[in-house]
């Protein structure tokens, strides 16, 4: 009755499976009643009723800024609600901190992980946990327990590896194990798949299903309707802080969900005309660079981005994309090789000079590099051009505000005012802010890393259209994305990166998913 194709199998299992029974009875594990949360000038949650059954996977959907993270943060004890009550596992609860929530059996994995980089996975999992031999650490006992959990749910992690050396996907698995280790009954995952590769996503879904079979309850936030339809039992949609409906997954479809989320019909049609590309804008010649750990990350990259084209770069993340982005922006040192921008050798130019030449970038690390969290929205919107917004060395606050108002409107950034700290925006709106800033600079070249990650449907459509029209205006885009669908949809040419090398470049017409897939995983094509 759940995950799509396997209907028969699971209904056969029903009679023997206790948790499935629970589900049939619709035993509620969580009831949030009339939850209201008001931030200055924003009603993030407006009398939300939200119910979750024991043992189900419950999807939570909604546009950027709809209030999903806020609702879950309230449940997890990070925020106190301004109204409403929470009934969990049979009793009324009031959490004052995540510690309380964990004790009651609720775990949450945030989109931004909270791990200690220089510690091993095992130590991170144990952090703050009292083993039976407390105050002594019982590693023996802990390791056995974690390994058992890992096996039960099929969540693989190298426990002795330091977090700093892990991929994002692996870090996420550590976070999940950390929660499971504390015997949670309910696990909240806030946009877990936005940082995962398709293969990792599949693995995560398998683990979620295992959890559900074991009687654990999961709340899963996502913007990808397909995923929600694939893995959940029920789906709740939030719109502007209100619950606009809880649906049974098997009775709904993408179109209905989209309509419920946005409040009107949405249809994503993106047309990309075939275009003759022009002169080279950026020539990357035999570039070598190291990563943060001092190991070779780029091993002789050759690539040309031309005027009027979108060059898609496909590849599993961690194969040098981030380093390449930084080399072009100018924040990473080049070991060897040259960068030619519009005929000018910019290899030794600093960041500021490249900004002035018209190189824009939507960085992969939005929060870490893309913005200054304590500065206001309007200040963040001029972060890379602030010099242009001065008069005789003095900031021109009037123009800065006008500029911000224009971009907020144009890019649909949800914020109560241009003067609030950017840190208070929702994840997707921070993303919009950065995109708005980088596109509005009117650059010649745009490096866009995962530009639609974390955006809602309307946002994705808007950004993709902007990228296309941007290229049509005769500018150049280097689109770095793990989302092959996005790459295929937008790119004129597609380059595949693997272990710091370009393994193949295709024209859009000759590219097919199979070939790209082989190259992305390090294989070779036969001629």
């Amino acid at each position: 009755m759940r995950f799509g194709g396997s209907n028969l199998v699971s209904s056969e299992l029903n009679s023997e499976n206790k948790t499935e029974d629970n589900k049939m009875e619709n035993k509620k594990i969580l009831e949030m009643k009339g939850i209201t949360k008001i931030f200055p000038r924003v009603v993030a949650n407006d009398k939300v009723d939200f119910e979750v059954n024991a043992g189900e996977i419950h999807g939570l959907l909604g546009e950027n800024g709809a209030g999903k993270t806020t609702l879950m943060s309230i449940l997890y004890g990070l925020y106190r609600p301004d109204g409403g009550e929470i009934i969990f596992d049979g009793g009324k609860v009031e959490f004052h901190s995540p510690g309380d929530a964990i004790k009651a059996g609720i775990g949450m994995v945030h989109q931004h992980f909270m791990l200690v980089n220089k510690m091993t996975a095992l130590n991170n999992i144990l952090l703050g946990y009292r083993t039976p031999k407390d105050p002594l650490m019982d590693y023996e006992w802990a390791r056995k327990r974690v390994e058992k959990l890992s096996k039960t749910y099929g969540i693989e992690v190298d426990f002795d590896e330091q977090v700093i050396n892990m991929s994002v996907g692996e870090q996420q698995r550590v976070e999940i194990l950390k929660a499971l280790f504390r015997d949670v009954k309910l696990l909240i995952l806030d946009e877990p798949t936005s940082v995962l590769t398709p293969i990792e996503t599949e693995k995560l879904f398998k683990a979620l299903r295992r959890m559900s079979e074991e009687g654990l309850t999961v709340i899963f936030i996502t913007h990808k309707l397909k995923e929600a339809l694939e893995v959940t039992d029920r789906i709740t949609v939030l719109r502007r802080g209100k619950n606009v409906g809880t649906l049974i997954t098997k009775d709904t479809n993408e179109k209905d969900l989209a309509r419920l989320m946005v409040g009107r019909e949405v249809e994503i049609v993106i047309e990309k005309k075939k275009k003759e590309s022009g002169e080279p804008v950026l020539r990357i010649e035999e570039i070598y660079a190291k990563n943060d750990r001092g190991l070779p990350a780029l091993k002789g990259i050759n690539l040309t981005v031309k005027r009027g084209e979108i060059l898609g770069m496909a590849g599993v993340s961690g194969n040098g994309q981030k380093e390449l982005e930084e080399v072009i922006v100018g924040t990473r040192k080049v070991e060897k090789g040259r960068l030619i921008f519009n005929g000018e050798d910019i290899t030794d130019y600093g960041v500021g000079r490249r900004v002035a030449l018209g190189i824009s970038c939507i960085p992969e690390d939005r929060i870490e590099t893309g913005m200054a969290p304590s500065l206001t929205v309007e200040e963040n919107l001029i972060l890379r051009d602030y010099v242009k917004f001065t008069k005789n060395g003095f900031m021109d606050f009037e123009i800065i505000e006008k500029h911000a108002e224009k971009l907020i409107d144009e890019f649909g950034i949800k914020t109560p005012s241009p003067k609030v700290a950017a840190r208070t925006l929702s994840g997707g709106n921070i993303q919009r802010l950065i995109i708005a800033r980088e596109l509005s600079r009117n650059p010649v070249l745009l490096v866009a890393s995962q530009p639609t990650r974390g955006l809602d449907i309307a946002g994705i459509e808007y950004v993709r259209k902007r990228l296309i029209s941007f290229a049509e205006e005769g500018k150049a885009v280097l689109l770095i994305s793990e989302d092959l669908e996005e790459i295929m949809q937008l790119s004129d040419r597609i380059a595949v990166i693997y272990e710091g090398k370009i393994r193949g470049i295709f024209d859009r017409e000759e590219a097919d998913l199979e070939k790209i897939g082989i190259l992305m995983s390090g294989g070779f094509l036969e001629n």
């Binding site: 931030f39 943060s73 990070l78 925020y79 009793g91 009324k92 609860v93 009031e94 959490f95 004052h96 901190s97 309380d100 004790k103 009651a104 922006v329 100018g330 924040t331 600093g350 960041v351 500021g352 000079r353 490249r354 900004v355 002035a356 970038c361 960085p363 690390d365 870490e368 590099t369 893309g370 913005m371 200054a372 969290p373 304590s374 500065l375 200040e379 972060l383 890379r384 602030y386 010099v387 001065t390 060395g393 003095f394 900031m395």
Partner: protein, 354 residues
């Protein structure tokens, strides 16, 4: 009953006002107990403190005279703080400024250029002293807290060496003083008190710095570096330049404070040019949260402590150490109070599950 500590995600603005006020009141309370213990009525003592500072012309102008250097050192800490740096070295920068200005006052000629040169050399000496930790931080990421702190001792002992040795005056008997400055090396005074023109300049500097850091593109760049160094780099702002320049500006202001103290107050170079103004600048900057206008307010508070402290000393024979204790307590409570801006505390069972 259980005490619960929770991390605040949102800090109401009012907390930023309540906490400092509460910190000060709490330290008043503690010092009151101390005063009681040595047999002094705390209310009377505080009364003397206030009436001295506000009741007499001498006391009132003295309040300004003591506040001025604290404004300057408060600024010297605040500016680097906005870029995310701890300048613990304002004291040393002040001493170097005092030394350089005194050197000019005693040995330079002709009179007409001496005062301007004292200012210039005071600024430059403070800057030079601050440039060392700034440079070390930018180049080698050496912890500026340690380097600025250690350089204080070097500067203080350097001045001490000078006034016991090469720069000791001819007519000072055995005191560690230089000769008195000539009139042309002394800042003009007003009202027949020690209120000198440096006080007014200090206020003007605070206003100028306020404009610099809130209205100019330089101030904006400093703010970005303080908020997120990686974003600053991404925005093409050289973190190193900002670090060094913020330290230089801070050092220059502290250096000017040193010049002002010798030329406006002591009228000579001596050991103990400052009773620790450089360190007082740290809680001042913290209280003011790096805002130069608030620095003025916070500096007045500590100025009052200095003036009132000496009044208490003369009236009740309270050891001067009590004033230091008072200051230390205020600092402790402010730092402790900062905890409450980040965490909230609640009591009782009602928060528990079921």
């Amino acid at each position: 009953m259980r005490i619960k500590v929770e991390k605040r995600l949102e800090t109401p603005k009012i907390v930023y006002i309540i906490i400092p006020v509460a910190s000060i009141l709490t330290s008043l309370l503690f010092v009151g107990v101390l005063l009681l213990a040595i047999g002094v009525n705390p209310l009377e003592a505080y009364g003397v403190m206030l009436s001295r500072a506000f009741g007499t012309k001498f006391g009132f102008t003295e309040l300004f005279v003591k506040t001025a250097p604290i404004i300057l050192t408060g600024l010297a800490v605040s500016i680097p703080l906005r870029a995310g740096l701890w300048n613990i070295g304002a004291e040393g920068q002040l001493y170097m400024g005092a030394f350089a200005a005194s050197f000019v006052a005693l040995y330079f000629y002709p009179p007409i250029i001496v005062l301007p040169l004292m200012v210039l050399f005071g600024l430059l000496a403070g800057m030079a002293w601050a440039s060392i930790p700034g440079f070390l931080k930018a180049k080698f990421d050496l912890n500026e807290i340690i380097s600025t702190l250690l350089l204080n001792y070097v500067a203080i002992y350097w001045v001490e060496y000078l006034v016991y040795g090469p720069m000791r005056g001819k007519e000072v008997y055995n005191f560690p003083y230089s000769d008195l400055f000539n009139d042309y090396a002394i800042l003009p005074r007003f009202f027949g008190t020690r209120f000198h023109v440096g006080v007014i300049i200090s206020f003007l500097i605070a206003i100028a710095i306020y404009i610099l850091i809130t209205k100019t593109s330089y101030g904006f760049a400093v703010k970005i570096v303080g908020s997120n160094p990686k974003a600053a780099e991404f925005a093409g702002i050289s973190r190193k330049k900002i670090i060094v320049s913020a330290m230089l500006i801070g050092g220059a202001i502290a250096g000017f404070a040193g010049m002002m103290e010798v030329s406006g107050l002591h009228l000579r170079l001596r050991a103990a040019v400052s009773p620790g103004y450089g360190y007082t600048g740290i809680p001042v900057a913290l209280l003011a949260r790096g805002n130069p206008l608030f620095v003025i307010v916070a500096a007045f508070l500590f100025g009052l402590l200095y003036v009132g402290g000496s009044a208490m000393q003369t009236t009740f024979g309270i050891p001067v150490a009590i004033v230091d204790v008072f200051q230390a307590l205020v600092v402790l409570f402010i730092i402790g109070g900062d905890f409450f801006t980040r965490y909230s505390i609640s009591f009782g069972e009602k928060g528990e599950k079921r």
